[in-house]
Symmetry: C2
Subunit: 331 residues, 2 copies
């Protein structure tokens, strides 16, 4: 294992320290914790809390800030934060208007965030939650009942965050998050596995000329392994599965995210987008806005995912609204 | 070689197509060319042109936009654009106030950009140029006489771009770019080489437990290979070489960039920054602003570099000025 790290047991804590030292104007790390909140708390609005395992950077601490999250709680690498930690985050960001939890659909995350919600509700804090399950590759998986939550989660942060920033109620913010989730579909592929520092070796094996189709963001299996194909062929396949699962009409508008898994050059992500665009145009759909980059990574996995997000007028406005976070800034 | 690409000979053109289809609101690709200009030309200001080999994305097309470059000219992977291509860029962006070329110090780049300048000057366009040489690792190298230009170039784009946006003259923009270059120092290290698509295999070799110190952004050799060390030890060494080459006083303020080479997880970059911050604080220097991410990559190299940029009041203002590009947006 070759990584720029020190002692393996300090990987998370040293990353957290580095992150908070680097961006004190954007995020504050609660003392001795793994809870990141906005450097300047915004009072009187619905607060958004997300999180999950570390290793997906910039998700989720990188999405704390104006127009997106109020707090993020990264657990150990590929491991859910504990209920206590999420509970601390909820208490830190609530300002009386209620808190929405944005949870990716993994059994551990769902359980721990729901327990945190109950703890906070017992304190009289109004808490609602949504579960993101945008990955069309597989029903049920290694860590999930139902579909997994993957890169599309960033769009949920974005639109729910913009809605909360407008002063909407908890019910309204939750409703827009649910609309986003209903309109989101993602599927990915990987060429090389990631290595969790504590494991010291790659999480799965791929032959020299093999790829995994439908990969999860922790390297959990997708639909199948097959011989490496050219990018256009891979995109053809992923797009077929994604589009089959969406109800789009001629003229439907889409926000598109081509997400890199951490070790995928931007060059390749743009080559992928080129084909995605061609297929969408041919099908009579319109690309409203495109995001290309590392949004929801898997440490050092060489992989990518395609997210299609069907947007109506409300969602278009929310996707385009300003945001100022470490990982996503838009004017 | 495992990459998300199609035919190897189409890698650059398909990336260019994807990039311009993804961000039509920010950049326009001149027809059938590798010249990227702002989607909306800003008249009456000094225009900035940069470029170099492809494979360094988001450099440099990703820095075209408000507050940074007016045009970028990416050549083939790790290969300078031709004089004709740079000349086209200069003609496209000049609006009478003159054009500044920002060149990284590689023999091919310097020669081709200077030839382009001569062609444009023959047309009556006022052209000046600066050469960035921030890499302290080695004097002279595989492709360079003198020091190489590496990730610090992004700071030159930023401050010269902000100065031009203010309406400064060509001489003033050039002067601030030169001040930035004089105040910039970078050094890097790599754990794994990059693979140029047309070569089909890694550009250099590193043993299973070996790293290259002082690596260049094309994988050209640095000062030496050595056994892999912990991150803090690597940072100690790089910072010692960088700081020795700078004249800093107690209280000096620095903008810091921790740059990833393309396949380095953000997690590791923050672990690196944590140690950089500790050393700077101990030495009595002040971190003014921090940038962590993939700013000047080397395709899929697992590596990183540390850039220190000594900033005075003028440079602080220019570093902090708004920018809106694909790879660098700031409000």
């Amino acid at each position: 294992m070759k990584k720029f790290i020190n002692e393996i047991e300090n990987v998370e804590i040293e990353m957290f320290e580095g992150l908070s030292l680097a961006h004190p104007d954007v995020v504050t790390r609660l003392e001795d914790s793994n809870v990141f909140v906005r450097a300047t708390k915004k009072e009187g609005k619905v607060a958004l809390v997300s999180g999950g395992g570390s290793g997906h950077e910039p998700a989720h601490a990188g999405y704390v800030g104006t127009g997106m999250l109020d707090a993020a709680v990264p657990g150990a690498v590929y491991t859910s934060p504990t209920p206590d930690q999420v509970y601390e985050a909820i208490k830190a960001v609530d300002s009386g208007a209620g808190v929405l939890l944005i949870i990716k659909n993994y059994t551990g995350d769902v359980m721990n965030f729901e327990m945190a919600a109950e703890l906070a509700q017992a304190d009289g804090i109004e808490v609602a939650s949504v579960v993101v399950n945008d990955d069309v590759a597989v029903e049920d998986s290694l860590y999930t009942t139902g579909r997994r939550g993957v890169a599309g989660t960033v769009f949920v942060h974005k639109v729910a965050g913009a809605k909360a920033e407008e002063g909407a109620s908890l019910a309204e913010v939750k409703a827009v998050a649910e609309k986003a989730i209903a309109n989101l579909r993602t599927m990915g592929a990987a060429l090389k596995p990631s290595t969790v520092p504590a494991a010291g070796k790659p999480g799965f094996e791929l032959g020299e000329n093999e790829m995994e189709i439908g990969i999860g963001i922790h390297g959990e299996p997708g639909t199948h392994k097959e011989e490496l194909q050219q990018a256009d062929v891979i995109v053809d396949h992923l797009m077929e599965v994604i589009l089959k699962d969406m109800s789009l009409d001629e003229g439907s508008e889409l926000a598109v995210m081509i997400n890199g898994s951490g070790a995928t050059p931007e060059m390749e992500l743009y080559i992928i987008f080129r084909k995605v665009y061609e297929l969408l145009e041919k099908a009579g759909f319109k690309v409203f806005k495109t995001f290309v980059g590392d949004y929801m990574t898997s440490i050092d996995m060489a992989g990518m995912s395609i997210t299609l997000f069907k947007v109506d007028d409300e969602l278009k406005k929310l996707v385009s609204a300003p945001a100022k976070t470490i990982g996503f800034t838009q004017v």
